[in-house]
Symmetry: C2
Subunit: 404 residues, 2 copies
């Protein structure tokens, strides 16, 4: 008789955003005339930039002609895209990353969920708390997290690094020694950043203890301040300890287009085994490349027109971020994030829990946000709003919140 | 100090088609003027059908307008596609499968590699021999296959079901009891099929021993004969024992477009645990849906125009299959497959091994095929050619082979 992967059964409840989706759908069904504004899930709302649309049409046209039709893509991605990424996102910034160290994929969610698979199940993971749920959940599924404590909402074998107002939402080195360290900056959900000096300390720490940093830089395009690193490879020594995950979802509005990449430098090794070759083997065995037309869309992100149009798109969302920050402050909330990130992190009023505030905001203002506790125990008493709505909706939502 | 997944290190050599790709590239580099014809990898060559191109353009246009732009897709796929599949591929054939039992994904390779993850690592797998390499390799990576015997090229904990000329390339029930049974019909690599009666016996067997059949029906569109089942759900009892994998790669030429689906009936359970909910949890945690525009392309496959155009495309490739079968027979080869499948399986001449014949064909005829032994030990002495080339190249390749 077949048996299931018992680790799956340990997962408490469903994926955070599925839960929110169901709650909102139920509320909408009960109040069909209410106009709900969604500033919850980090999903973009602006249409694809003209340069990208043009590139997509052109690639579709190629697929309809025998001479230019393309079948299976190279496992690790087309050279035209990998080279554009290496040049624009790394070499032009002085970070030494080659095109052959870049793996094209269909999303940072897929990669951040799958990357743990190339490591031993004995490895200890360390995560920020609060944190994007996929890091922990994918490790639960792999059996790497021990026993769940429902009261504390933590796993016995996970090292949590609290990020709260007290430490400026920047994690400290943990007391226990981790093997894999998940870091995400600009941070989801808190919207906080890390300085180049502090990130260098993390790189030095990882090299010293023999850990791998899995660095999620999905929100890099939103960095507006100096001294905030755009990639972990700005730090000396990162090539021997860091994997970087990048997404096209937030800088180019690709949440429904699906494109991302992962960087694994060839020097990153365990003994003689290069992680690069393990990930290449996974890609070659369990994946068949991102669609050709989507990879051409990715290429357009780096064209002069694409760059200019996307700079405007990011500016549009960051204007929303300012509306949210300012509105919340006027309404008396304690707010952080929103300067180098599209996320605004606020303290819930009084002694309200995160989910109480979720219900309160949904019922009284018809605004959807994300409960901080959904990202981990240290997120309790916090709440996330995103700048990815339309400007009009964002202004309207804040008017509603200010009236509460 | 971090450690890697040791199971990855057990994998012998690289993925079959990567090896072939490297060998062909090396030969081409050494003989730059030689015109090589590739009938190796099962990659299509005909451009996308006009109905699909039109649908792609329309969807691209939608993504460029604020009113019609789409962000994150539903985790399990858009209803318009899941409903078209349920109706056309199942209900119209009398197979009782609902839209909510269909999971949209980016490729049958991804799904056939990832599906093992929802099962216990203790489960024993049974595979046909020869077989598509992904089934075994993904189980090796998960630590489910025991010790590799390089002399026999087999794993101690895998149950192999030989498919050779002696049994008409149709597996017999294994002596040992499996938990997961991988079946693929029309078969890759042998091009053989299974009768409805025989598949019913497999379903009954699986239900009796409490095993799950993972049924890969990627080549279903090539079935030309009566009494060959188009889906395992034509068999009574399949809803309690079978998962079906389907691809758009071969029926619609989507190898570079990337779209597929997996069916998990809700009755398929281990105790109280529905495999449907485990796979939904995996999709929700480690995947973010197929691109909207690609799902619209999938929808067009089921439009009246799409159906008519794709019927012609399949007929084009099957004409190639006849050219190959007939040409090989004229040249004195023993041949099977090619009637309900785009693959032709031939016996290598004399005592030549599969790889010797690969080199011989590459060097003497400049034709690339796939060595049967690459699919498993019982594939030794066999060789696979595909009908996915252009008609002109296929005719030319067979002329070259006949001249040998």
């Amino acid at each position: 008789m077949f048996k299931v992967n018992e680790n799956y059964l340990k997962l408490p409840g469903s994926y955070l955003f599925s839960t929110i989706g169901k709650k909102v759908a139920a509320y909408q069904a009960a109040h069909p005339d209410t106009e709900i504004i969604r500033l919850g899930i980090g999903d973009v709302t602006q249409p694809l930039a003209p340069a990208i649309i043009e590139s997509l049409h052109r690639a579709v046209e190629e697929m309809g002609q025998a001479e230019t039709f393309r079948g299976y893509a190279p496992d690790l991605g087309y050279a035209f895209l990998r080279e554009a990424i290496a040049r624009n996102d790394y070499q032009d910034r002085g970070a030494e990353i080659g095109a052959d160290e870049i793996f094209i994929s269909d999303g940072a969610k897929s990669d951040s969920g799958n990357i743990q698979e190339i490591f031993s199940t004995d490895n200890r993971i360390a995560v920020c708390d609060p944190v994007y749920p996929v890091y922990v959940d994918s490790n639960v599924m792999a059996g790497r997290t021990g026993v769940y404590d429902p009261a504390r909402e933590t796993w016995s074998d996970v090292i949590y690094m609290p990020c709260t107002a007290e430490n400026g939402f920047s994690p400290e080195f943990p007391a226990e020694t981790p093997d894999l360290i998940y870091l995400c900056f600009p941070n989801n959900p808190t919207g906080s950043v890390i300085t180049r000096e502090r990130l260098q300390e993390w790189v030095d720490y990882a090299n010293k203890i023999g850990a791998v940093i899995i660095y999620d830089a999905a929100y890099e395009a939103y960095i507006s301040e100096e001294n905030v690193p755009h990639t972990i490879y700005e730090c000396g020594g990162a090539r021997t300890c860091a994997i970087e995950l990048k997404s096209f979802s937030k800088n180019a509005g690709f949440t429904g287009v699906r494109l991302s990449y992962t960087v694994i430098p060839k020097e990153l090794k365990c003994g003689d085994t290069a992680l690069h070759s393990l990930w290449a083997r996974r890609h070659g065995t369990k994946y068949n490349g991102a669609p050709y037309i989507i990879q051409r869309a990715g290429e357009a992100v780096y064209s002069p027109e694409g760059k200019a149009q996307l700079k405007e798109q990011v500016a549009y969302y960051m204007k929303n971020a300012r509306v949210i920050c300012q509105g919340l402050k006027e309404a008396g909330y304690t707010v952080s994030g929103g300067v180098n990130a599209p996320y605004i992190w606020l303290k819930t009023p009084g002694s309200m829990t995160s989910w109480e505030f979720f219900d309160y905001l949904l019922e009284k203002a018809h605004v959807v946000g994300t409960p901080g506790s959904g990202f981990g125990p240290s997120g309790e008493g916090y709440f996330r709003l995103t700048a990815f709505g339309s400007y009009e909706n964002t202004v309207a939502a804040l008017e509603r919140i200010k009236r509460l």
